[in-house]
């Protein structure tokens, strides 16, 4: 493997990793505060990509398309909390987990019922790739990487630098104690689901921009997203982001060894390895027995 090939793979892996990090962050936030792995995350992303394509076709502007995708998906996530997930408080995690699978199927089938299975794509101006030290980078990829990184940092900033973020972390740590100290669960949960929706939306639009928009696109990213969330330590959003980026890099750099078909298998193997060697995740604390 020559240096240029390696560099190209690393660039591709970094972008893929940022996408996985966005999805992993959405999964991890839900894991930390709402305490279940949300299998509908992938289909939130798919929804966002379709919403973005439709809005771009309507307004003619990519920025407006992406912005409306974020707004609509955040609304969808909040609605799914209010209508479905809110009602599971106090029950075991099986119920919301199964319901999230149901929601994933429901979202995807409503999409395919009205739009069909044909692939769609965003309209992106064609531009010449920039050659940088032997690595070819499309300008769009720079935009993708930049936007993803900014979104990740923004969500983490909300979580760690703002009062609502502090309240959210308090609920994640100990819901009873948080309630006893007067933290309103309602505001926290609505903010949480807005963040989950926004995060998935940016991920979905980025994924759609990078390739094409198809009904299965989000579901296919669910496995790496779960792997990132577990690898980073369950309920540790920063860990999920780092693990997501690492997963993308490892997947891309292992391509010469395992081929394209088994790229996703890498995340499965890393997931298994984490569970065996370090179930609390790379950055996580040991899970207390409840």
């Amino acid at each position: 493997m020559s240096a240029a090939v390696g560099l190209n793979l690393a660039v591709a892996g970094l972008i893929q990793g940022l996408l996985i990090a966005l999805a992993g962050l959405a999964v991890s936030l839900c894991f930390a505060v709402a305490r279940f792995p949300n299998a509908a995350t992938g289909d939130f992303m798919t929804f966002a990509a379709y919403a973005g394509v439709a809005a771009q076709a309507w307004t003619g502007s990519l920025l407006a398309g992406a912005a409306s995708a974020v707004l609509l998906t955040a609304g969808l996530a909040v609605a799914s909390y209010v209508l479905v997930f809110r009602n599971f408080r106090g029950r075991s995690l099986v119920a919301p987990l199964i319901a999230s699978i149901g929601l994933a199927f429901l979202l995807r089938s409503v999409l395919t019922f009205f739009v069909g299975f044909d692939q769609h794509s965003f309209h992106v101006p064609i531009a010449r790739a920039i050659v940088f030290a032997g690595a070819r980078v499309r300008p769009i990829d720079l935009w993708l990487a930049g936007t993803s990184a900014v979104t990740l940092l923004a969500v983490l900033a909300v979580l760690f630098l703002t009062p609502i973020g502090r309240r959210m972390r308090a609920v994640a740590d100990n819901p009873e104690l948080a309630r006893a100290s007067g933290i309103r669960a309602r505001t926290v949960m609505l903010t949480l689901w807005t963040l989950i929706g926004a995060c998935s939306a940016v991920g979905g639009v980025m994924l759609g921009l990078q390739t094409v928009v198809v009904p299965e696109m989000g579901w296919n990213l669910l496995l790496p997203a779960f792997a990132a969330a577990v690898l980073g330590g369950v309920g540790n959003p920063t860990g999920a982001v780092l693990a997501g980026i690492a997963l993308g890099l490892v997947q891309a750099l292992s391509t010469p060894l395992v081929g394209f078909t088994y790229q996703t298998a890498i995340s499965f193997i890393l997931l298994i390895a984490t569970l065996v060697l370090r179930p609390q995740g790379l950055l996580g604390r040991a899970e207390p027995v409840r």
């Binding site: 029950r91 099986v94 987990l97 699978i101 199927f105 429901l106 089938s109 496995l223 792997a227 569970l275």
Partner: protein, 293 residues
């Protein structure tokens, strides 16, 4: 008409066997297996490949069940000492990876082209009698599954696994090992699922990777949830309801001619999704159950 009923009965019986396996895992022990379709595929491919190499049917079916159970072993060992949701994530991932393996390892599985010409037992009896005999075989397997579940659940081991489902810490406090019991149940359930896969492969005589999609796992889940998790009759009733729903949606198109075949598939998926949400929200005990846990 008789041929159609035989076919529906056979498919329904296979769903019932799948539901029995999952009911043992989820209903009685609380294990969240989201990879039902993977063990089903292992059973189907094992039995089909062996039969094509001339191995007698009895051994094919047995090998399908045993191999599916063996596939469950490492997954169970790794996940069952951890939180409940890890098994869910790992089995879901396993099903996806297994499908990738089946698609790409063409030397073994013939890839996306699938495996045609799998021999079917009793095919020498002619279409009608042969179909009937195969239905009898499937129902016999289902009854064996029922009796296995009844015996297992009524035994001291059965009381133990239900105690694990209800309060794992309490079980640990009396010196029992929940992880070991869960592993045994996970493997038995996977074995039943593998057997169902073998019955399916020999019934259809053709298998390909696109028959083993994640959706199938959740067909079985909705059957177990509708029928009432943790009740033996529930798995059978749920599988019957599921078969009724799947067959009914086929006839629905005669009534709604403006809905295309592709859109009907979307509607079916939407109905399954909506049922999963509504049942977990409003009737977690199933259609017929009384006790809310």
């Amino acid at each position: 008409m008789q041929g159609y009923l035989t076919a529906v009965g056979t498919v329904g019986g296979i769903y019932a066997l799948l539901a029995l396996g999952l009911n043992l895992q989820y209903g009685f022990t609380g294990l969240i297996n989201f990879g039902v379709v993977a063990f089903y595929a292992v059973g189907a491919y094992t039995s089909a490949l062996l039969a094509l190499r001339g191995v007698p049917f009895v051994l094919d079916f047995a090998a399908a069940a045993v191999l599916a159970a063996l596939f469950a072993w490492p997954l169970g060992v790794m996940c069952l000492r951890l939180r409940d949701d890890y098994l869910a994530i790992v089995t879901l991932a396993f099903a996806e990876i297994l499908r990738t393996v089946i698609v790409s390892e063409e030397w073994l599985t013939n890839g996306t082209r699938g495996i045609p010409g799998i021999p079917r037992p009793f095919s020498g009896l002619g279409a009608a009698a042969g179909g009937f005999a195969y239905l009898a075989l499937v129902l016999a397997a289902m009854l064996a599954g029922v009796s296995l579940t009844v015996r297992l659940v009524g035994s001291p081991f059965g009381r133990l696994i239900q105690a694990i489902r209800d309060d794992e810490d309490a079980v640990r406090s009396v010196g029992k090992s929940p992880a070991r019991c869960k592993l045994v149940v996970f493997m038995i359930g996977a074995g039943l699922t593998g057997l169902a896969g073998a019955l399916y492969a020999h019934y259809l005589t053709y298998i390909s990777p696109d028959q083993f999609v994640p959706l199938l796992t959740f067909y079985v889940w909705i059957a177990v949830i509708m029928g009432g998790a943790g009740r033996v009759g529930g798995a059978i009733a749920g599988a019957a309801l599921l078969t009724l729903f799947l067959e009914g949606s086929r006839f629905l198109r005669d009534v709604l001619p403006f809905v295309s075949e592709v859109q009907m598939a979307s509607l079916r998926l939407a109905a399954i999704g909506l049922m999963l949400i509504l049942f977990t929200l409003y009737r977690p005990q199933g259609l017929l159950g009384r006790v809310a846990r």
